[in-house]
Subunit: 349 residues, 4 copies
C-alpha cells in the first residue's frame, strides 16, 4: 500500500478524493492538509461534509495538518492536490521536492515539462517527468489533470482524432454547480435561471484540449492543429457537465463508424486494468434524449463519459454533432487525479 | 376596436394571448374557442389558469365555443391560433375563408404565399397575402410567426445581416420548460437534470431562420444563403430561452460596431409605434454574466431580446460569439402573433 | 430461490421493484406484467427506463404479459403489485387465489383480514392471513404496505410509542415529485414553486398510521388511540419525503432518552437478518441542518428513516418536535413490499 | 415629498426598498448608505443589482455614503434600515437621535417602547413612540417590522383572533431562498433538496407573533395568551414563503365564517388608503392546490397574503388548518417597512 495525502482536504474536491480513495486497493489515505483554520483538528471536526456518501470511518480521526511539506508525514509518497490556483502555484512546487503531486489545480497545467495527462489520451506525456525532476533538482514531481469540461470533451474526442481528421470544433457547455465549489453558485443565481459565464473556463477548454491531443516529441508539446472555440454556461444541475459539440471534419465520414470507434475505444488504463479505469471510457447511447446529467453522470462509477445524439450535421457537409455528459467532480476532478496516480504507481513508482 | 378570437384558448399560449390582449387599445377579445370538452362552459370554469398574472375579468364569462368557423361569432375579424400542428393544418384554412388568422402554429409557416413574419425583420412578406387570397378564393388569410427559438435568434441576427456578411452560424439552445406546454416536461425529467433533445426544434430553427432572412421577390422566398446548424436542449427554467450563438463572418469586423448596430436596431413596429412593439427589439448587456433568463426574459414587456457576451471569437478569425435570451411564450409565441396582427391592422385592415 | 413477478412492471415503482430485486439472494424475477400496450414485448422494448441505475440485464429479455393470473407463469410464487388503485382493487383478489400478493397499492390496505404491515412495526398482523385465506377460499393471499409518507412517519414513531405515551401528533410533509409517478408533477408546477396539496394523502396518513400502531387481537385491529393530523405538500425534490413532526406526550420526557430509543431501535427484520433490512431502521442525526432529502434518502440503501432536530418544544409542555426523511420509492414503496415478502418468505412460505 | 434614505442599500432588501420606492407619491429616495467598501461610489457602480426589475434611473447617480448619521444628508426625514442585526443594534440608535428609523432589522423588535408594527394588525403600538423619544431624549425614533415569516402568519391570524378564541397554533414553514440574502443559500444546498433549519427563525416566529397580537396598555405589551410553536424549513423557491398552519380553537366554529372574516378583513392602511396598502390584506383561494409561491407571491403587488385549503381539521375537534403564501422580501421585509413609514407619515409626521 502507498500512503497518500490530500491537500485541500476539507473542500468539495478534497472530499471526493477521500470518498474515491475509500477501500482503494493500492492507496491508503494517511495525511490530510487544509487551511490553518482546520489544522490541529480531527478531520471529522474540521469538516462540513458535503457528499451524500457517508464520510469514511478511516479518515475521521486523522488530525488535519497545515498545507506544507514540513507538516506532511514522511511516510507519504503521493499527495493529491485540490488547492486554489494561486496557492497551488507556490506550494505544489515545494511538495514536489519530495513528493509525487497529483494535482487537479490549474496552476501548472500548461507549464513546460509538467505533464497534463488523461491516462486514456496521452499517457506518454509522463515522459516529461525525468526532465522536470532534473531541471528542478526534485526527488518528487508534479503531474496534472485538465479542467473538468476539458476532460470530458477530450475523452470523447480521442477516438475521433485517432481515426478521422478534424478541422474545427465548437462546443457549448451546460455545467453543474458543483464545479464552482460548495459556495460557488448562490441558489438566487440559478433557481429558474442559468448563468452564461464561467470565469476562464472557455480559455482553459480552448488551450488544454489541443495540448492534450498534441504531440510530445521528448522535449515539448506541439498542440493539435485543429481549432476549438467554447461557450460556457452554468445550469441548475448538481453534478454532471453536459456539452453540445459541433465538429467539422476534413472529409466525409460514416456516422456508424464514428459511433463504433467511440464505443470500442480503450486506453492504457483499460489495458493495465487500473482500479479506477472504467470498462468503457466512452459510452454511446442511442436513445434520442440521452445523455442526461442525472441519469448518466454516474456511468462507470463516474469515470465514463456518455455521448448521445451522435449524428451527421444536416446543414454543414462533413460535420458531426453530438452531446456528452461527464461527472465533473469524479472523472472531471478527483477521479482524474486518482487515475493519474494509479498510472504513475503502475509505471513509474 | 377590432373584435378578436382565440383558438386554443385554454392552453398555455392561449392564456398568454388573453393576458397580452387585456387592456389592448385596438383589440377586444370577444370569442374563445377550445376543444369540445370545454365548449359550452364559461371560460373561467373551463380553464385551469397557469399564469401568475390573474385571469382578466373580461374573459371569465365568455362562453367557450368549438373550434370551427361556424361556431365563431360573425363580428370577429381576427383569430389568434395556438392550435396543435395537426389540427391547425386543417382548421386554420377553414377560418381563413372569412377571418384573418394570426397563427403561432407551425403547420403553415413554410407554405407558399403564407407569410412567416417577424414585423421587425420581414414585414414585406405580408405582400404574399394578396396572392394567398386569390389562389384560395379566401376573404381572410393566414399569417404565421416562427418557432420561439427562431424568433429570438432571428431578431438578434437582423441588425447583423443588414450590416455584415454572414457565412455560417452554429447555435446551441437552453430552452425553458414552458415551451413544451404545461404538461410537456415532467418534473422527474428536469429537476437536477436537462434533456438534450426537443423534437423537430433543430429543423425548425435551421429552416425558418433562413426563410425569414431571405428575399421575397413578389412570387417566392429565396432563403438567406448562409448556413445555420442548431443543437437544442431543455433546461430547468420556467420561461425564457437562452441561446449560445457562434457566427462566422466573411470578413473582419469591429466588435463595437456589431454591438452598436444591435443596440440601435429599430424595425417597422417601432416606426409605426405599434402597441406591443418594444422600444428596443434587441438590448445589449455589457455585464459579463448576462443575459440570464430569470433576469432578462421580461425586458420590453417580454418583447425584447437581450444579448450579452458579444465578443470576438479568440480562436476563429472573423468570428463572433454571443448569448441571447428571449421570452418564449411572449415574444416567442403569443406576443409574436399579436404584433403581427397589430401590423396587419395598421397596414392592411 | 423463489420465482417472483412484478405487476405494473413498466411504471416507476415497478422499475424500483426490478432494481431492488437484482441480485436478491432469495427472489428471482421471472415474470413481468403490464398493460396490454406492453404485453408481448421484451421488457427492454416495452419500457422507458426512469432510474439512474441501469436496467438489470436479467429482465431485458423477459416478455411482458397481460396483468391477469391466467397470463402469469405457474412457477411464480410471489407477485409484487404497484398497480393503480382502481385496477388493484379488482385484480389483486384474482391473483390472491393462487399467489402471494405483496402490494404497494392502497386498494386493500384498510380491509379486514388483509394485513397492512411494516415488518419492524407490526409483523404480528401477518396472523390475519389465515383468516383471509379461509374467508375467501384462497390458496394465496394479499399483504400490503402503507403509503410512502406513512411508512417513514410510522417507523420513526414506533420506538416512541413503545416507550412513551403519545397524546397527539401534527405532521407537515414536504414530498418528492417521484411519489406522483414519472408524469405526475409537471415541471411547470414545481420549478421555483411548491404545491400544497396531494390528493388523499392526508387521509391515508391519518388512518394508516393509527392502524399500523394499533393492536390486532386475532380478529380485528383496534387502532392506536392518539390523534394525528396531517398537512401534505409537494416540493421540487426528486426522491425523499421530508416531514416535520409535532408530538404531544401525556407526560414529561427526557429528550436524550427519546433519541436513544430511536437510534437503538431494532425490529424483527433486523433480528431475522432479512436481506433488505437496514441495520438501523431509524438513524438519528445531531447536525442542526439535517436530515436533508438529497443527503439522507439513501441511508441504509434507502431503507432507513433519518431523523434530526429531535428537540423539546420550547412552547408546549411535554411536546417533541423533529424532522424526518425517508426514501419514498424505496422504503416508502417497492422496498417496503420486498421487505414484507422477505418476512413472509422467512416465516410463512 | 419626504426625503428618505436607505441603510444597507446595496443588499437584497435594500434593493427592494429602492424598487418599491420608485415612483412613490410621498417618498423620494435621496440618500443611500452602505459599507465603507461602497461609500464614495455612484450607486450603480457600487451595486450588483439582483432584481429582475430594472434599477431605477433616479438612484443610479446617488453617491453612496457610510452608514452613520454624520454622513447622512440633513434634509432626509426617514431612513429605512435593512442592516445586519449586530450593526443595526448600535447604529439605528444613533440615527434615531435625529431621524425616523423604519427598520426591517431584528435588533430592536422586542425592546420596550420600540413599536413592532404591522399596520393592519397593531397600529396602536405607535403610541410607544412618545415614551421612546422621551426616555432616550431623541428627536427621531425607531419603528420596526417583524420577521418575514411572522408577518405573513400574523396578517392571516388577525381576522381570526378578532373573531374567535385561539388556544394554540403549530406552524410549519417552507421558506424561499431570498430570505437568506443573495449569497445565503448555496445552490449545492438546495437543488433537489431542502434544508430543515433556519437559524433563530422559529424563536422569532414564536415570540413576535404573540407580541404583535397582544395588548399595549400605554406602558407595556402584554403578549397574546395562546401558544405558538414553529418548525422552519428552506425550500428551492426564489421568493414567497409558504406556511402550513394548524390552529386549535377554544370552541367550535363555522368554516365559512372563518373564510369570510379573512377575505373581508381590512385594516387601518386600507381605511387610510395608504399607497402601499393592498386592497385585501388576506386573499382566500378556493382552488384545492393553492396558494403556491410562484403563482401567489405577487398578489396585491406582493403586499397581500394568500391563504388556501382553509378547512376544518378532520381529526381534532375545534381545529382549523390552512396554508398561506406571502412575499418574503416585499410584505415580509421592505414593503413592511415602507407601509410602516406611510402610516407614520400619515398619522405622526
Amino acid at each position: 500500500m502507498v500512503n497518500v495525502g490530500v491537500l485541500g482536504a476539507t473542500g468539495m474536491v478534497g472530499q471526493r478524493f477521500i470518498q474515491l480513495l475509500e477501500n482503494h486497493p493500492d492507496f491508503d489515505v494517511t495525511a490530510l492538509a487544509a487551511s490553518s483554520r482546520s489544522a490541529g483538528k480531527r478531520y471529522e471536526d474540521a469538516t462540513t461534509w458535503y457528499l451524500a456518501e457517508e464520510m469514511p470511518e478511516s479518515v475521521k480521526d486523522i488530525v488535519v495538518t497545515e498545507t506544507s511539506p514540513e507538516a506532511m508525514s514522511n511516510d507519504v509518497d503521493i499527495v493529491f492536490s485540490s488547492l486554489p490556483t494561486d496557492f497551488a502555484a507556490k506550494v505544489e512546487k515545494e511538495f514536489a521536492k519530495d513528493y509525487v503531486v497529483a494535482s487537479n489545480a490549474s496552476a501548472h497545467r500548461m507549464k513546460k515539462n509538467i505533464p497534463l495527462v488523461i491516462p486514456e489520451v496521452n499517457p506518454e506525456y509522463l515522459d516529461m517527468i525525468e526532465a522536470q525532476q532534473k531541471e528542478n533538482n526534485w526527488d518528487g514531481f508534479i503531474v496534472t489533470n485538465p479542467n473538468c469540461s476539458t476532460i470530458a470533451l477530450t475523452l470523447s474526442l480521442k477516438p475521433i482524432v485517432d481515426n478521422f481528421n478534424i478541422e474545427s470544433i465548437r462546443v457549448s457547455t451546460m455545467q453543474a454547480v458543483s464545479g464552482a465549489g460548495y459556495n460557488g453558485v448562490p441558489s438566487m443565481a440559478i433557481v429558474d435561471n442559468l448563468v452564461p459565464y464561467i470565469g476562464n473556463e472557455e480559455e482553459k477548454m480552448e488551450s488544454e484540449t489541443l495540448h492534450l491531443l498534441g504531440d510530445y516529441d521528448g522535449s515539448e508539446v506541439k498542440p493539435a492543429q485543429f481549432k476549438l472555440s467554447a461557450s460556457c454556461h452554468r445550469v441548475p444541475v448538481i453534478d454532471g457537465h453536459t456539452e453540445a459539440v459541433f465538429i467539422d471534419f476534413d472529409d466525409d465520414f460514416d456516422i456508424e463508424d464514428v459511433k463504433s470507434k467511440m464505443a470500442s475505444f480503450k486506453g492504457l488504463p483499460q489495458k493495465l486494468n487500473l482500479f479506477s479505469a472504467p470498462e468503457n471510457p466512452v459510452i454511446v447511447k442511442e436513445e434520442e434524449d440521452r445523455p442526461q446529467p442525472r441519469m448518466d453522470r454516474n456511468a462507470g462509477n463516474g469515470m465514463s463519459v456518455t455521448v448521445g445524439r451522435v449524428r451527421k450535421d444536416q446543414v454543414f457537409d462533413n460535420s458531426l454533432k453530438y452531446v456528452l455528459v461527464g461527472h465533473n467532480t469524479i472523472r472531471g476532478a478527483a477521479g482524474a487525479s486518482v487515475l493519474n496516480a494509479e498510472l504513475i504507481n503502475d509505471k513509474i513508482l
